[in-house]
């Protein structure tokens, strides 16, 4: 299983999904009304490293995080 966490202002509980890549995650989240607007402006990290392509393989135990727009300071 892959754990998916939604950081900062995305008000959504973590998911545990049986997926093998980020493409599958994208297809699942696109059907989720609560994610409308967040997919286009959020970055994605796998095991706390940002990734730049959704052609990214996932394995059992991986952790995916969605990071919406930031503003520290």
């Amino acid at each position: 299983m892959v754990r998916v966490e939604f950081l900062g202002p995305i008000q959504k509980e973590p998911l545990e999904l049986d997926i093998t890549n980020l493409n599958e995650l994208a297809e699942i989240l696109k059907k989720d009304e609560t994610m409308q607007g967040w997919l286009e402006n959020s970055a994605v990290a796998v095991n706390d490293t940002l990734v730049s392509s959704r052609d990214f393989a996932l394995k059992d135990g991986d952790r995916v995080a969605l990071l919406p727009p930031v503003c520290g300071g």
């Binding site: 950081l7 900062g8 202002p9 980020l22 995650l25 994208a26 989240l29 696109k30 997919l39 286009e40 402006n41 959020s42 970055a43 994605v44 990290a45 706390d48 490293t49 940002l50 990734v51 730049s52 392509s53 959704r54 995080a65 969605l66 990071l67 919406p68 727009p69 930031v70 503003c71 520290g72 300071g73």
Partner: protein, 145 residues
């Protein structure tokens, strides 16, 4: 050297501590930047969420860049609520010469604003409102759209 605190930063104490930590390190320049919450748009204050694992790796990469120029960076940031006229952010560069420190603090703070995984909320009328219009999408965002 990254320091996270619950609530507002004790600015005089932190600046003094950092000064004392490096007092005999032979740095010729100590350039701090202090961010203070201003009164605007009727807010009572700001509030912050931080994702520490990625903040730590982002900061470590900058510390390595600083090291390559003979400098070091220190940064302090608040978690949770920070009210008007209190401070939520301090960044400082120590370097042998002032020019490196002045340039580096500018580059560092700009990237901090664009990349550090920290989320800001306005505190207004007892609500915590995400400051989306002042936020920046991290480079590479949107791969799942």
């Amino acid at each position: 050297m990254l320091y996270l605190y619950d609530g507002a930063l004790d600015v005089p104490r932190i600046l003094k501590e950092w000064y004392e930590q490096e007092a005999s390190s032979n740095y010729g320049a100590y350039i701090p930047f202090v961010g203070t919450v201003r009164s605007e748009d009727g807010i009572d204050g700001l509030s912050f969420d931080i994702y520490e694992p990625i903040l730590n790796s982002w900061f470590d990469a900058w510390q390595q860049k600083a090291k390559e120029r003979g400098a070091i960076i220190k940064m302090a940031h608040s978690r949770g609520d920070v009210m008007l006229h209190e401070s939520s952010y301090i960044a400082a560069v120590f370097s042998p010469k002032r020019r490196v420190a002045l340039e580096f603090i500018d580059e560092f703070v700009e990237d901090f604003k664009a990349s550090a995984p920290i989320w800001k909320y306005d505190l207004k009328d007892a609500k915590r409102i995400y400051a989306l219009d002042r936020s920046t999408a991290i480079k590479g965002s949107g791969i799942l759209k």
